[in-house]
């Protein structure tokens, strides 16, 4: 499912995870889970961004 997230959705999810993590109210296990999820979202974001960058690099001089 996460593969179908847009960059923004993934970023939003990442932010949600970051927020709860930074609130520090999570149990250790939940925090670890949240970290894992945050990583997944971060990865998605990074990949999306890299893909976008690549796409641009293919056509740099195109109007």
């Amino acid at each position: 499912m996460s593969q179908e997230l847009t960059y923004e959705q993934a970023l939003e999810k990442l932010d949600e995870k970051l927020k709860v993590l930074e609130d520090g109210e999570l149990s250790l296990e939940d925090a670890l889970k949240a970290v894992d999820e945050a990583r997944v979202y971060l990865k998605i974001c990074t990949e999306r961004l890299e893909a976008a960058k690549k796409k641009i690099e293919i056509r740099p001089d195109e109007p």
């Binding site: 960059y7 970023l11 970051l18 930074e22 250790l28 670890l32 971060l42 974001c45 961004l49 641009i56």
Partner: protein
């Protein structure tokens, strides 16, 4: 002037006619005021009429070309101020005034009619900016309504191509002067709209007098401009007065050059601006990507920061718990209890010692041994005393008591009978003699009765 080498020879008629023409040539741009009469329109579009002032008269001709240019056409009985030249036509032998311009003698009246037209158009709102069509930013082609003969086409074309080298220009030749001009302009405008070859219309002419410009002050022209779907720009030359056409046009320029600049943007500028937009676009895109990279980096950093925090606070918590546990570990309790046990041990010892001491004291207080000795002593004392007493009594009672004085008692050893007389015994018998102290055993040796 007859040149000397030609002097001797007589003129031919033609030569003289030509000579007359030449001589008359200085009479050009002559202004002539007179009443029109006998006007006739020729098949070639020219007009023949006579100008008179009551005393004199002159034949006049208005050629078709000029007729298209003049502000107004001559009418019989009307007084005009004509401009023209004198010419001599050899063919007919007639002298004619060749009209190239006609002005009303009574311009005030004409102006009054014009003002009345402006008022009406104004009332209709024809001059309002709000109804004016916007000029296209970049027309596909520019329609030019002008006289095909003037320099206008050239000027406009130069201006436009200088600004936009590959711009198309569609020229609609029209009469810009003369009585036929309004209809000509109106027709061309309609064609422009119908054909749709261009996106904007420029109506231009090279300027002129009030009369020359009169076509652009007519209602026909004004209505045609108002009715145009395509925006119309006027470029009517350097006139001080705005024409009605200028007022109803969507844009008003002085010169074709100005109009050209007005209707066609500079291609180079456009390309620069497009390039600038492209730069902005690329910049925005790059900035956006950079921002995202930054945002992601920030989040990555936050995540990286959160992770150790996750463990750190908990580690601290555990360190505290460990310290608490060490503190709460019952070492003290054990020590205290050991102390308490020692105390109890002491108490046990003390109680035991006390108990023992009490028993010993109690025991000692009995002085049992002493008392025993004393009881014994008392008992013995009594016994000894009792025996002594008895011994005394026995001594006192004993018949032996006399023996101490030296008497003795003799008894027969066998019978124990006291030998009171010698006769009581016989020789050889054994007797026992009691003395004051001790006894003797003896055998009777003698008997002396």
């Amino acid at each position: 002037m007859i040149r000397p080498e030609e002097a001797p020879r007589p003129f031919t008629v033609t030569e003289l006619a030509n000579e007359i023409r030449r001589e008359l040539r200085p009479l050009t741009a002559v202004l002539l005021k007179g009443e029109v009469t006998g006007i006739k329109r020729g098949a070639a579009g020219h007009f023949n009429f006579t100008i008179q002032d009551g005393l004199s008269r002159l034949d006049a001709v208005l050629f078709a070309d000029d007729a298209r240019k003049v502000t107004t056409l001559p009418e019989d009985g009307q007084v005009f101020v004509f401009r023209g030249r004198i010419d001599f036509f050899g063919k007919t032998g007639r002298l004619s005034f060749i009209v190239d311009q006609i002005e009303f003698d009574d311009v005030g009246k004409l102006r009054a009619r014009l003002e009345e037209l402006k008022r009406r158009l104004d009332l209709e709102g024809a001059f309002l900016d709000s109804r004016k069509r916007r000029l296209p930013f970049l027309p596909r082609a520019v329609a030019l309504l002008t006289s095909p003969t003037g320099a206008v086409i050239h000027d406009l074309q130069e201006t436009i191509w200088e600004r936009f080298p590959n711009m198309s220009i569609v020229v609609y030749p029209v009469q810009v002067q003369g009585a036929a001009a309004p209809a000509s302009v109106a027709r061309a405008l309609r064609r422009c709209n119908v054909e749709g070859l261009a996106d904007v219309v420029v109506i231009a002419r090279g300027g002129g007098s009030f009369e020359e410009m009169f076509a652009f002050n007519t209602e026909v022209t004004a209505r045609a401009i108002l009715a145009s779907r395509l925006p119309v720009v006027t470029a009517l030359g350097h006139t001080s007065d705005r024409t009605v056409a200028d007022m109803v046009a969507d844009a008003e320029c002085r010169t074709p050059t100005e109009a050209g600049a007005r209707v066609v943007p500079k291609k180079a500028d456009l390309m620069l601006r497009l390039a600038e937009r492209e730069r902005r676009l690329s910049r925005e895109r790059d900035r956006r990507l950079a921002r995202e990279v930054e945002r992601l980096q920030a989040r990555r950093e936050r995540l990286m920061q959160v992770m150790p925090n996750l463990v750190r606070s908990r580690s601290e918590r555990l360190v505290r718990a460990r310290a608490d546990l060490a503190r709460l570990s019952p070492v003290q309790q054990v020590a205290r209890r050991l102390e308490a046990l020692l105390e109890r041990g002491r108490r046990v010892d003390a109680a035991a010692a006390a108990r023992l001491a009490r028993s010993r004291n109690l025991f000692a207080s009995r002085r049992a041994s002493d008392r025993l000795d004393r009881a014994l002593a008392a008992r013995f004392g009594a016994a000894v005393r009792g025996l002594e007493h008895r011994r005394s009594r026995l001594v006192a009672l004993s018949p032996d008591s006399v023996l101490s004085r030296g008497y003795s008692i003799t008894q027969d050893a066998a019978s124990g009978a006291v030998v009171r007389s010698a006769a009581d015994t016989a020789r050889g018998r054994n007797v026992r003699i009691r003395l004051g102290s001790g006894r003797l055993g003896a055998q009777v040796e003698e008997v002396e009765p």
